[in-house]
């Protein structure tokens, strides 16, 4: 996957795009603009997935995040803010606290990553379960990725797959009950 120079160009462009938008989301004044920048972040992340060859994941990410979650955020903003009129400025408080927390996390994370990557044994991942064998050859072809994920989901990871679906159903019903209960209409 890590191709030649073009790959790196795309990588840096996309990551810069994503980080820039993430910063805008965090420091934006108008809530609605933050939501749009969040959408751009999602698209950036989807692009990064593509670079990694995770095609199905990019599609799923775009469908669920940019299509669904962003719309959800927009509806939440509209329902909770005054529809039109004074746009309440988002006063950020304790900016210093935030920055310090972010930086110390960054430090910790980078040190861990640095040490972890160095100590990895070279043959990591050699012992592959039998089913994964089929998955192995298929995962490189673009079409293969989609097929591979599909097959893996229904064979190796069937139990979590079912759990996820149950969780989703519960989440949807829960959300409706909360919104309706409070709403009363």
């Amino acid at each position: 996957m890590n191709g030649g120079a073009v790959w790196w160009v795309f990588f840096y462009a996309l990551s810069a795009f994503t980080l820039f938008n993430a910063l805008l989301v965090v420091t934006g004044k108008n809530l609605f603009k933050c939501a749009l920048h969040l959408m751009l972040v999602f698209l950036g992340v989807a692009g990064l997935f593509l670079l990694q060859g995770a095609f199905l994941l990019a599609g799923v990410q775009t469908l669920i995040y940019t299509g669904g979650v962003t719309t959800l955020i927009l509806f939440a903003i509209m329902l909770s803010e005054e529809v039109v009129g004074r746009q309440r400025q988002l006063v950020s408080r304790g900016v210093s606290i935030g920055i310090s927390a972010a930086i110390c996390f960054l430090g910790i994370a980078l040190t861990i990553f640095g040490t972890a990557v160095a100590q990895l044994p070279e043959n990591y991942g050699v012992h592959i379960a039998p089913v994964a064998q089929f998955v192995a050859e298929a995962s490189h072809l673009p079409m293969g990725n989609v097929r591979a994920v599909g097959v893996a989901l229904l064979t190796q990871f069937l139990v979590p797959f079912e759990f996820a679906s149950v969780l989703l159903v519960v989440a949807v019903i829960g959300a409706i009950v909360i919104a309706r209960l409070a709403g009363g209409k």
């Binding site: 408080r93 304790g94 606290i97 709403g183 009363g184 209409k185």
Partner: protein, 397 residues
């Protein structure tokens, strides 16, 4: 409990000072209903003419509706007192500008009743012919406009194709297309041009097929039925108590038709039946009007036969220069396309009417709106108001 325990940097930050003022939601008040006063009109596409509805809206539901009328008030009743009797006919075209023939007939019948003069038979038949054609044309406009409200573009053109033909006949008759003042005191302005009846006879089957087309296109359209049935219910007792008339009361199941209950001209000599529908909702009102068009066509057929046999005679009583009825008053009502159009004239013997009171059917029909509209969804508002078939010229006079 220390408020910002997590930061712990010290408590002199400004937000400590503002005590969070949260008004406890009072137990009874579940939700802060934010009622919205909304203005619909006076320039709104679906209010036919200048009707302004002041709606208090709670979310999607209309809580109260109060029509604010008077934007088209031209003071006809005062004007009529300054004109001589023949002049008031020319005023009458502009009350219900979609059915000016029936206005003329109402006014001339009232004056003739005051003068106790006998109008020649041929003129009475022509008046009936013209009244029924006018009713068909007016109902066609209603169906076209109602289709547009509901979003269907095509029925508009079908209805107006038929209406153009009828208006063409009126043009042949009296030269005007909308405000005719063809019916005068004592008769009719001019006799039928020759070839008029044959032309009309050829036109009737075309009109019949046109009605079926419109029915199939709009009236029995499933989406329209689903959208208009079951809303704007006016129970019979309410309809009577509010004095509704015309298709509005007949759609609530009451067979009240001025042509049957207080017969005038030769309506009792022609066989037709009164259309009623028990559903009392908007769709019933639309259906009643579309069926009434067919009855009017039946009347037109019979009148054309009668006029054919009748020799072409004089169509107007010779009246003196100025009409001077003796003292007295009278009330005459006719069935205009929108309902009972009543004229109450008081004369004091002079050349000018002392007082003319016009009972506009749309004015009385609209009076039920504040009773019917609350509790309706905004989307239905257009469907219900449209089915009233209001003409503001008649409401505001």
């Amino acid at each position: 409990m220390k408020r910002n325990s997590d930061s712990g940097i010290g408590s002199n930050y400004p937000w400590h000072k503002q005590r969070p003022v949260i008004e406890e939601p009072r137990p009874g008040e579940a939700l802060r209903a934010d009622r919205l006063i909304v203005n619909m009109g006076p320039q709104h596409p679906s209010t036919h003419g200048v009707l302004r509805m002041i709606l208090t809206v709670d979310g999607e539901w209309v809580v109260a509706a109060e029509p604010d009328i008077g934007y088209l008030h031209r003071g006809f009743e005062k004007l009529a007192e300054m004109r001589d009797y023949d002049g008031t006919i020319f005023l009458s075209d502009r009350w219900d500008y979609l059915a000016s023939m029936s206005n003329n007939i109402a006014m001339s019948l009232a004056i003739e009743r005051l003068l106790d003069i006998q109008v020649p038979e041929r003129a009475q038949w022509i008046r009936m012919l013209v009244a029924e054609l006018q009713r068909i044309a007016s109902h066609l406009v209603f169906i076209a406009a109602y289709g547009l409200d509901m979003g269907a573009m095509t029925p508009f053109f079908y209805c107006f194709r038929e209406r153009e033909r009828i208006v063409g006949f009126f043009e042949a008759l009296c030269g005007a297309r909308l405000t005719y003042h063809y019916v005068r005191v004592g008769g009719v302005a001019a006799d039928l041009p020759d070839g008029f009846l044959e032309e009309l006879e050829k036109f009737i089957p075309m009109l019949q097929s046109g009605f079926d087309e419109i029915d199939e296109l709009l009236i029995y359209n499933p989406i329209l039925i689903e959208r208009t049935s079951g809303i704007g219910i006016i129970p019979p007792h309410l309809a009577v108590s509010y004095g509704l008339s015309g298709p509005m009361i007949r759609a609530s199941g009451i067979p009240y038709d001025v042509r049957k209950c207080h017969p005038y001209l030769f309506y009792d000599a022609v066989d037709w039946d009164v259309i009623t529908h028990e559903a009392c909702d908007s769709w019933a009102r639309v259906w009643v009007r579309s069926q009434e068009m067919r009855q009017s066509l039946r009347i037109v057929k019979q009148v054309v036969e009668r006029l054919k046999e009748m020799p072409a005679g004089e169509v107007r009583v010779k009246l003196g220069r100025s009409i001077r009825p003796q003292k007295g008053d009278c009330y005459v009502a006719i069935e205009s396309p929108r309902g009972e159009l009543g004229i109450y004239i008081v004369s004091d013997g002079s050349g000018k009417p002392y007082r003319v009171k016009i009972r506009g059917p749309s004015f009385v029909n609209l009076s039920i709106a504040p009773r019917v509209l609350p509790g309706v969804k905004i989307a239905d508002l257009v469907a219900i108001l449209g089915s009233f078939d209001l003409v503001m010229g008649e409401v505001d006079r």
